[in-house]
Homo-oligomer: 354 residues x 2
DNA sequence: GGCAGCATAGTTAACGTTTTCTACGCGGTG
DNA sequence: CACCGCGTAGAAAACGTTAACTATGCTGCC
């Protein structure tokens, strides 16, 4: 017997039409609701849809020319609290408008990120949001990303940089940033004003944008205060608790030649707390510790952590808003740029010296 | 002048073909690599693709019959550490195989979850993974979810329940669970063995599956030890730090008639720590506290939190594996079921009484 | 020297929608 | 009473791919 070609099939619009005794066009119209359809036809169609348990095929729909309402976002890792907050902002705003979110994780790798953006482009995502800093981005990587931004824009989509520096003035992207450098500057100033002169800075990866910006802010503050900065008080690691623990443990084992630690991230600071405890040091009496991000954890650490507040969720929400609002711009549009501010949240992890 | 219909357009496969001076079929073959193509044609096509910056249209591809390699997962909120861990497991396994992840958040709402599953079905996702418990699920909701599971399965996709009880024996779903009830039983037994008799249980929402299972385990342990359980030592809230703080603060203000608190979640326990501190109570001397989940935070709380370990990331990874491996089953397939075990991690937040 | 068979290439019919175009009946109007 | 317009319906042409057929030179072998 001649069977159907495919074995597993969902009912199609044509099936519904046949079942309801109308044409496919009518079913489509009932679904879209943008064309007059008689009461009786409408009812029959709705009934058939329910009985056949019909689900429209998004792919066919997209091909036929309807926006697919999918937004993409790419971040290093969903497990980081700050990333998760930003992702939540994006997702919330998107779903509030009935959009679906495609997600990809880059592990902070530039090549993988590029590949993901290309994948999202193939999916015809309405916008692609890049969340957080990126590491080891070569000039070539930047050129390719720029090209992707242009392609996306030409296709009526949009590349959005969230928490990351712009690609260039003439690149059609939206960038939603926060003042990373300024936040670090303010924090180091705070430490300095409390009398600290030897501050160990626990940075992230050497060539990671967020890490570099925070380190730059720290250094500028040192310079402005005329505090020597010979680079021996900077350690590079990754943005994890384990890294903060290991790095500070090593330095402590080698002899404590600093009175404060500025961890590039709150979770790194948590690692510092753990190491300090192992050496019998109490925070902040024996060692002051500060972080960056102001995630919930900062309030659970004892003593509560002094840190820099970053409005991650708002950042994500704004990114989604801009992404969804400013697509389909003029061909010569060259971007939008928002800068959020950060501020120091003083809690109890810094002592006053002298 | 007669312009093109659409204003914003990406180059199509036909454009590439024209540019390279070959037929569309040849371009498709070069891309797929499943058919012999001459060296020269191949090169010309690749060159044209690069010059035009071509990106294949996934929708057209999917329509023409190629699996779109998209997996969907739905959870209550990306911000929870345990959810994030599970999501990470899913995403990692998916992307390792070259699949993309669609994500949706339900805020723990059953109706919204149902709507999301339907949306994912319309997207023709290869599998739909539901992560974490669900609240207020009515019998009707369950019936509708069952129907969706069947539709998904009939279409060659699959519904996967991760960290949530099965829908029924004859429903074609994969379920990846951990022993929620047993973990709570073990934890309460531990508290009991340390001499605690009056234990305040801080549960989640009244009709939330995870919360109910944990509470059930707690109660069974109480029963087995012959400890009275009149329900006055159970409070319902939500799985947040704020909820744990408020609930325990209220009870403490009313007079402390318990020696230990079993928080349904580690972050709830963090709230308890905060409240205890406000009342001048030290953990564990004045009050023992335990949690559930064993997220990273448990190690940063002071004293370090005794809790129940749940392998969230592995749960997520396994869900994705099963989802991707066991699609396209026989029509009469009725599911897969995995049960992970939990165990108590003893740290320093419980004192020995008597 | 004819022809089987192989390596390439092009044609064309799907795939499941949406969206023009047409088409048809019918009530009201000049 | 002819005709216009309106409300409703269907036919058919896209949309951008893939894959099943055809088609066309060649190579080499009997």
């Amino acid at each position: 017997m001649p069977g159907k070609r495919k074995t597993t099939n969902s009912p199609t619009l044509a099936d519904v039409a046949a079942h309801a005794g109308v044409s496919p066009a009518t079913v489509s119209r009932v679904l879209a609701g943008n064309y007059p359809v008689s009461r009786s036809a409408n009812q029959r169609v709705m009934r058939s849809i329910r009985e056949l348990n019909y689900a429209a095929n998004t792919h066919a729909r997209a091909l036929a020319g309807v926006q697919s309402k999918t937004i993409a976002f790419i971040l290093a890792d969903v497990r980081g609290q700050s990333f998760a907050d930003a992702a939540h902002g994006v997702e919330q705003e998107a779903s509030r408008r009935g959009w679906l979110s495609l997600i990809g994780t880059s592990q902070g790798d530039s090549a993988r990120e590029l590949a993901l953006v290309q994948l999202m482009r193939e999916q015809r995502a309405g916008a692609v949001i890049l969340i957080g800093g990126i590491a080891n981005e070569s000039a070539d990587d930047r050129a390719r990303m720029t090209e992707l931004a242009r392609s996306l824009h030409a296709a009526g989509s949009l590349l959005v940089l969230c928490g990351r520096p712009a690609l260039g003035d003439d690149v059609p992207t939206a960038v939603i940033e926060y003042d990373n450098e300024q936040g670090a500057y303010a924090m180091t100033s705070h430490l300095l004003s409390q009398g600290h002169r030897r501050i160990l800075f626990l940075a992230g990866p050497e060539r990671q944008s967020t890490s570099m910006q925070r380190l730059a802010g720290h250094r500028r503050a040192l310079r402005d205060y005329g505090v020597p900065d010979d680079g021996t008080l900077v350690e590079h690691g990754v943005f994890t608790r384990a890294s903060g623990y290991q790095l500070s443990k090593n330095r402590l084992a080698a002899g404590q030649d600093f009175t404060a630690v500025f961890a590039a991230t709150d979770v790194v600071a948590a690692g510092v707390y753990a190491a300090a405890a192992e050496f019998g040091l109490t925070v902040p009496d024996d060692l002051s510790v500060v972080g960056y991000d102001d995630v919930e954890l900062a309030q659970d650490l004892r003593p509560r952590l002094t840190t820099v507040h970053v409005p991650y969720e708002e950042l994500g929400r704004t990114a989604a808003q801009i992404a969804l609002d400013t697509r389909h711009q003029q061909p010569d549009w060259t971007g939008d740029h928002r800068l959020f501010t950060t501020h120091v949240v003083v809690r109890s992890s810094v002592s006053r010296l002298g």
